[in-house]
C-alpha cells in the first residue's frame, strides 16, 4: 500500500484530510485569510445586535467609505440565511423522506411554498420578528434574513427530498443488510448522495436571494419604515435622492461581492462536492477551483473541518445501541390510528381554508376577489408575452453560442452572473426613461419583470445546445439539413427539455418580480402598471393585510396552476420524447 501519485484521483480521502501534520506555507496564507474573515464577521455581527434606536441615531449615509461595511452586513445576512436554509433542509427534508405521515404534509407544502410570491411575506414577517425582539436591531435583521431564507429554503429542501427519494436501491439494501443505524446511514448514504444537488441548488438559491436582500433591507409596512445598513438600503436611499453615482457604486460593489463569494465560497464547495457525484466511471471534466486547490494543499484545513466532523462523531456516539440483526416483520399498521391521522390532516386543511377565507372575506368583498382576479390575468398576460419574447431572442442566440464550445465556455459564466445579479437595482433607470419619453407604464414597466430572469432561458439553452451529440450534428450537416428544417428537426427538439427548465424558472421568477417591477419609483416620480404585483405592493405599503393575503393567495394560485397545466406537461413531454441518451 503506497500513497501512489495517481493523477486521476487528485482528491484525498476525507478521512485523510483529518490527519494532522505540521503547517506549511499555504497554511500561513490560509490562516491570515481566515483570521481576517473572522474579524470581519465579528465586526459585522456587532451591528446586528444593537438597540433599534441606534438605527435612527446613525442614519444610512451615501458615503463610499461606508459601502464596504454595508456590503459586509448584507453578505452576512445572506450567509446567515443560507445557513438557516441548509439546517432547515437537512432536518425537514429528511423527516419528509423518512416519515410517511410527515411527508404527506411537508412535500405538498414545500411544492406550494416554492411557487408562492416570497416578497409578499415581508409584511407579515417584519411585524412578527420586530415583536420578537422589541427595541433591538436583531428583530429587523432576522426579518430580513427570514425574507432571504424564504427564497432559498423551499427549493433546497425539495431538491434534498427528491435526492433522498431517488437513492440507489442497491446501496439502500447494503445499509439495510448491515443494519446501519439511521444516523450512520444518513452520514454514509443520504447526505453524500444528496450533496451535489444540494450544493448546486444552494448556489442557485443564493443568486435568487440577492433579489430579496435588496427588497428586504429597506421596508415600509404601514407607517413603520425600517432601514438596515446594507447595500439594499443604500440603493433605496440613492433612488430616493436620485443620486446616480451612488446607484452606480452600489451596482459595482454588488458585482464585486457576487464574484468574490462565487470564487471564494461556492467554487471550492462545488469542486469538493464533485466527489459525491453518483457515478461509477470517472468523468473527464471536473469542476475546478483555485481556492479549493490552495486549501487542499494546506494542512490547516483539518482543523477547520474538525468541528464539522466532530458533530458527525458526536451523532454516532449518541446513536442507540445496535438493534437485533434481523429485522422484525412490520406489524400490521394500526388501521384506526391511520384513519385518525388522515382525518386530522383533512380537518387541518379544511380549518386552514375556512380560517383564511374567513379572514380575507371578513374585511373584503367578493368584488375585491374579482378585482384581484382581473389584475392577476393582466400579470399573467405580461408573463406569457415576455417569456415568448425572451424565447425568441435567447433561443437562437443560445443555440448559436452553445454550438461553439469556446464561446459557450466564456459566455456561460457571464449568463450565470447576470442571473445572480439583482435586476431590481436597474429599475430606476427604466423609470427615468419612461418618464422622459412619456411612455405607457402598463407596457413599458413589463420588461422589468423578466430583466433578471431571462438569463435562465439563455444559460439553459446554451447548456442544451452544447449537449447536442456531435454525431447528430454531423449527420445533419452531411445530409445538408439547413435553415428552418435544421431548427425544426435538430436544434429545437434537442434543446427542448433544457429550454423548458429555463423557461419554467424564468416564469416563476417573473411572477415574483412583478411585485417590485409593477410599481417602481425614482425620487418623487412613482410609476405603476396595472397588475397583481402592483396590487400586492400597494397593499403592503398601505399595511392592508387582508389585501396582501388575497393578492398572495391569488398569485400562488396562478403560479401553481400555470406550473401544473403548462410547464409540467411540457416538461414530461420533453423528458419522454426528446431527451437524448
Amino acid at each position: 500500500m503506497s500513497p501512489e501519485k495517481n493523477p486521476a484521483r487528485a482528491l484525498p480521502a476525507f478521512s485523510r484530510m483529518l490527519r494532522l501534520t505540521r503547517p506549511n506555507r499555504e497554511d500561513a496564507i490560509a490562516f491570515v485569510i481566515l483570521a481576517g474573515l473572522a474579524l470581519v464577521v465579528f465586526r459585522g455581527a456587532q451591528g446586528a445586535v444593537e438597540p433599534l434606536s441606534r438605527l435612527h441615531l446613525e442614519p444610512l449615509l451615501l458615503d463610499p467609505g461606508q459601502l464596504p461595511y454595508y456590503a459586509l452586513r448584507t453578505i452576512l445576512r445572506m450567509f446567515a440565511a443560507l445557513f438557516a436554509s441548509t439546517v432547515f433542509t437537512l432536518v425537514v427534508a429528511t423527516l419528509a423522506a423518512r416519515s410517511r405521515h410527515l411527508g404527506q404534509i411537508i412535500v405538498p407544502a414545500l411544492d406550494i411554498l416554492q411557487s408562492v410570491p416570497i416578497l409578499g411575506f415581508l409584511t407579515f414577517t417584519v411585524t412578527f420578528f420586530m415583536g420578537l425582539f422589541p427595541g433591538n436591531v436583531l428583530g429587523v435583521e432576522l426579518a430580513s434574513v427570514f425574507a432571504i431564507f424564504t427564497s432559498q429554503a423551499w427549493n433546497m429542501a425539495f431538491s434534498f427530498y427528491q435526492s433522498l427519494r431517488s437513492l440507489p436501491s442497491d446501496l439502500e439494501e447494503v445499509c439495510q443488510s448491515f443494519a446501519l443505524s439511521p444516523v450512520r446511514r444518513f452520514l454514509k448514504l443520504d447526505l453524500p448522495f444528496a450533496t451535489p444537488a444540494l450544493v448546486w441548488n444552494a448556489m442557485m438559491s443564493m443568486s435568487g436571494g440577492w433579489f430579496f436582500v435588496v427588497a428586504s433591507e429597506a421596508i415600509t409596512v404601514g407607517n413603520t419604515t425600517v432601514t438596515l445598513p446594507g447595500i439594499g438600503s443604500w440603493l433605496a436611499l440613492a433612488i430616493e435622492k436620485q443620486d446616480f453615482t451612488a446607484v452606480a457604486e452600489a451596482v459595482g460593489t454588488m458585482a464585486v461581492v457576487i464574484v468574490a463569494y462565487d470564487q471564494l465560497f461556492f467554487r471550492p464547495i462545488v469542486a469538493w462536492a464533485d466527489r459525491f457525484r453518483f457515478e461509477q466511471t470517472a468523468s473527464t471534466e471536473r469542476p475546478e477551483s483555485w481556492v479549493y486547490d490552495m486549501l487542499r494543499r494546506t494542512r490547516l484545513l483539518p482543523l477547520l473541518f474538525a468541528p464539522v466532523s466532530a458533530i458527525g462523531r458526536l451523532l454516532l456516539a449518541l446513536e442507540p445501541a445496535r438493534r437485533a440483526r434481523r429485522l422484525q416483520a412490520e406489524g400490521p399498521r394500526n388501521k384506526l390510528a391511520e384513519r385518525g391521522w388522515q382525518v386530522a390532516v383533512y380537518a387541518g386543511v379544511v380549518a386552514a381554508l375556512w380560517w383564511s377565507a374567513h379572514y380575507v372575506l371578513g374585511t373584503l368583498s367578493l368584488g375585491d376577489v374579482g378585482q384581484a382576479l382581473g389584475l392577476a390575468v393582466l400579470t399573467l398576460i405580461r408573463v406569457v408575452v415576455l417569456i415568448v419574447l425572451a424565447s425568441f431572442i435567447w433561443v437562437p442566440l443560445g443555440v448559436t453560442i452553445g454550438l461553439r464550445p469556446k464561446l459557450a465556455e466564456s459566455v456561460q459564466p457571464v449568463a450565470q452572473f447576470l442571473a445572480a445579479f439583482p435586476a431590481n437595482v436597474l429599475f430606476p433607470f427604466a423609470v427615468i426613461v419612461i418618464v422622459r419619453f412619456h411612455l405607457m407604464p402598463d407596457i413599458w414597466l413589463s420588461p422589468l419583470m423578466i430583466l433578471g430572469t431571462q438569463w435562465y432561458i439563455l444559460f439553459n439553452v446554451i447548456a442544451g445546445a452544447s449537449a447536442i451529440p456531435s454525431d447528430l450534428r454531423e449527420a445533419a450537416s452531411m445530409f445538408g439539413v439547413k435553415g428552418w428544417q435544421w431548427w425544426r428537426q435538430v436544434a429545437l427538439p434537442a434543446i427542448f427539455p433544457y429550454y423548458i427548465t429555463g423557461a419554467l424558472t424564468a416564469s416563476g421568477g417573473s411572477w415574483n418580480a412583478s411585485i417590485v417591477a409593477e410599481a417602481v419609483s425614482w425620487g418623487q416620480s412613482h410609476l405603476e402598471a396595472h397588475g397583481l404585483g402592483a396590487y400586492i405592493a400597494d397593499a403592503t405599503t398601505a399595511g392592508n393585510y387582508p389585501q396582501v393575503a388575497l393578492g398572495i393567495g391569488m398569485m400562488s394560485l396562478f403560479v401553481l396552476g400555470f406550473n401544473r397545466l403548462v410547464w409540467r406537461p411540457l416538461y414530461a413531454y420533453g423528458e419522454r420524447r426528446l431527451r437524448i441518451g
Partner: protein, 436 residues
C-alpha cells in the same frame, strides 16, 4: 417437492408466499417455497427473470418480509448466531468511500473498534486479491475488481451464509470466468469464513460449474420445480460429457410444459386468451435471426438450446423468451432441450421481406389472441382507430399494470412488423392507417 438434505441444516425456508402490491391481494411472486440449505454446500437458484428468485434471496437476507411463511436460521454449536451477508449484481459500492472504507462499512455498523476493523478489512482485501487498492475509489476500478470489493465487504463480517445475487452477470465473459474460478478456489480451500453459499443465477452453465445443488424455479409465480444434485467432481470441465448432459437436462426442465394439473395454458406464458402475459423485449428482428440460425447449417432446423445459447452468445434470460415466442407462434417446438423449427418457420427463413411479414401476420392473428382482439376492434370501428388506453385497461383486469404495459408494448411491436395494425405514440392510439 421434498428436499433430502443429508447435511446439517443452516437455513430452513418454510411455506413462503410473497406478493407484490399492497395486502390483501397483489401479484403472487413466490408460491409455497420450501427449502433447506445445509452446511458446507453451494446452492444455486436457477430461474428466469420474474421467477422470484431475487425475492427469495432478499427474504433470506431479511431485506424484505414475505407475506406468509418463515425463514429460520438453525443455530449450531460452533455457530450460535448464524448470519448472512450479500453480494450484489450491481456491486452496490459507495462511490464516495474508498475500497477500504467500503469494506469496513459492515464492521463499523457492528461497532468493531477501529484497529480491529482495519486489520480485518485489510485481511479481507488481501484474501480477495485487491492488495494495493485499499485507497482507490470504486470508479477507478474495473468491473471485476469492483465485484471483488463487494465480495470482500460481504466476507469481512464473517457471515455463515453468503448470498450472491447474479454476482457475475454484470461482468464480461472473461472477467466473470476468472472471478468464478477464484471464488471456487477460495471455497474449496476453505479460506472463506463462511459455511455455505446461496447463489442466484440465470446462467445454467455457471450453476452447474459452481453448485453442489441446483434449485430450478418456475416463473409466475415462482416455485421450486426441481432440486438437482450436482455430483460432478471438482474442478469441473465444461466440455466434460456429464457436464453437458446435466446442462441439457436443466434446459429441458426449464422449458418443460407446465405440470398437467395446472390450468390449461397457451404456450408457456402465464394467462390465457387476451390475458396472456407476453414477454418483454422480444424483437421480431431477433426472432428472425434465431429462425435463420436454426434453419441454417450446422443446425438444419433442430438445435439444442445450450448450443444455441453458446453460438448466439445469449443468456438463458434472453433465449428462453424468444424460443417460447417461436413456440407460441407455432414456428418451433421445444422437445426436451431441443428447439425444432416447424414447416412455417422454415418457409419463413427462405422468404423475402414481404412474404415473411405475411407469414408472421398469419401466425400472429391465429395464435396471439390479443393481436386478434385489437385487429378485430379496429376492423369493427368505422374510423379504424382505437385508443391504446382501452386495451391497457382491459389487460389490467387480468394482470399488474407493469405486465399490461409490457404486454401491450410487445404486441404493438409485433403488430407493427406484421403490418396488421399501427400505433401512434403521440395520440396513444392504434389504427389501421398507414402513415402518410
Amino acid at each position: 417437492m421434498a428436499t433430502i438434505a443429508p447435511l446439517a441444516p443452516l437455513v430452513e425456508v418454510e411455506g413462503l408466499n410473497h406478493y407484490y402490491g399492497p395486502p390483501p391481494g397483489g401479484h403472487l411472486v413466490l408460491e409455497g417455497v420450501n427449502l433447506t440449505i445445509g452446511q458446507n454446500e453451494v446452492v444455486g437458484l436457477l430461474g428466469r427473470s420474474g421467477s422470484g428468485k431475487s425475492t427469495l434471496l432478499r427474504s433470506i437476507a431479511g431485506l424484505i418480509h414475505p407475506r406468509e411463511g418463515e425463514v429460520r436460521f438453525v443455530p449450531t454449536e460452533d455457530c450460535p448466531d448464524p448470519s448472512v451477508s450479500m453480494v450484489f449484481q450491481t456491486f452496490a459500492l459507495f462511490p464516495w468511500l474508498t475500497v477500504q472504507e467500503n469494506v469496513e462499512l459492515g464492521l463499523e455498523a457492528q461497532k468493531v473498534p477501529a484497529e480491529e476493523r482495519r486489520a480485518r478489512a485489510l485481511a479481507a482485501i488481501d484474501l480477495i486479491g485487491l492488495d494495493g487498492f485499499e485507497n482507490a475509489y470504486p470508479k477507478e476500478l474495473s468491473g471485476g475488481m469492483r465485484q471483488r470489493v463487494g465480495l470482500a465487504r460481504a466476507l469481512v463480517v464473517n457471515p455463515s451464509l453468503l448470498l450472491m445475487d447474479e454476482p457475475f452477470s454484470a461482468l464480461d465473459v472473461l472477467t466473470a470466468e476468472t472471478l468464478r474460478t477464484d471464488l471456487l478456489d477460495l471455497w474449496s480451500e476453505g479460506r472463506m469464513p463462511i459455511k455455505s453459499i446461496l447463489i442466484v443465477t440465470h446462467n445454467i452453465e455457471e450453476a452447474v460449474q459452481m453448485c453442489d445443488r441446483i434449485l430450478v424455479f418456475s416463473s409466475n409465480p415462482g416455485r421450486v420445480v426441481a432440486d438437482i444434485k450436482v455430483d460432478i467432481p471438482r474442478p469441473r470441465d465444461r466440455l466434460d460429457p456429464p457436464f453437458r448432459a446435466l446442462v441439457d437436462d436443466i434446459y429441458a426442465r426449464m422449458t418443460a410444459r407446465a405440470a398437467p394439473e395446472s390450468p390449461l395454458r397457451d404456450g408457456l406464458f402465464p394467462g390465457t386468451g387476451i390475458a396472456m402475459v407476453l414477454p418483454p423485449k422480444v424483437s421480431t428482428n431477433a426472432l428472425a435471426g434465431l429462425i435463420e440460425e436454426v434453419d441454417g447449417t450446422p443446425f438444419n432446423g433442430k438445435a439444442s438450446l445450450a448450443e444455441l445459447a453458446d453460438s448466439l452468445q445469449l443468456e438463458v434470460d434472453e433465449l428462453f423468451p424468444m424460443a417460447e415466442t417461436l413456440q407460441l407462434l407455432r414456428f418451433a417446438e421445444l422437445r426436451g432441450a431441443d428447439l425444432v423449427l416447424t414447416v412455417a418457420a422454415r418457409r419463413y427463413a427462405q422468404s423475402d421481406v414481404d412474404q415473411r411479414k405475411a407469414i408472421f401476420a398469419q401466425a400472429l392473428l391465429a395464435y396471439v389472441p390479443l393481436a386478434q382482439h385489437i385487429r378485430r376492434v379496429l376492423d369493427e370501428r368505422a374510423s379504424h382507430r382505437a385508443p391504446a388506453r382501452r386495451f391497457r385497461d382491459e389487460l389490467e383486469d387480468y394482470m399488474s399494470e407493469d405486465y399490461a404495459d409490457e404486454t401491450l408494448r410487445t404486441v404493438t411491436h409485433w403488430g407493427r412488423y406484421a403490418e396488421i395494425f399501427t400505433y401512434e405514440e403521440d395520440d396513444d392510439e392504434f389504427s389501421l392507417e398507414n402513415p402518410q
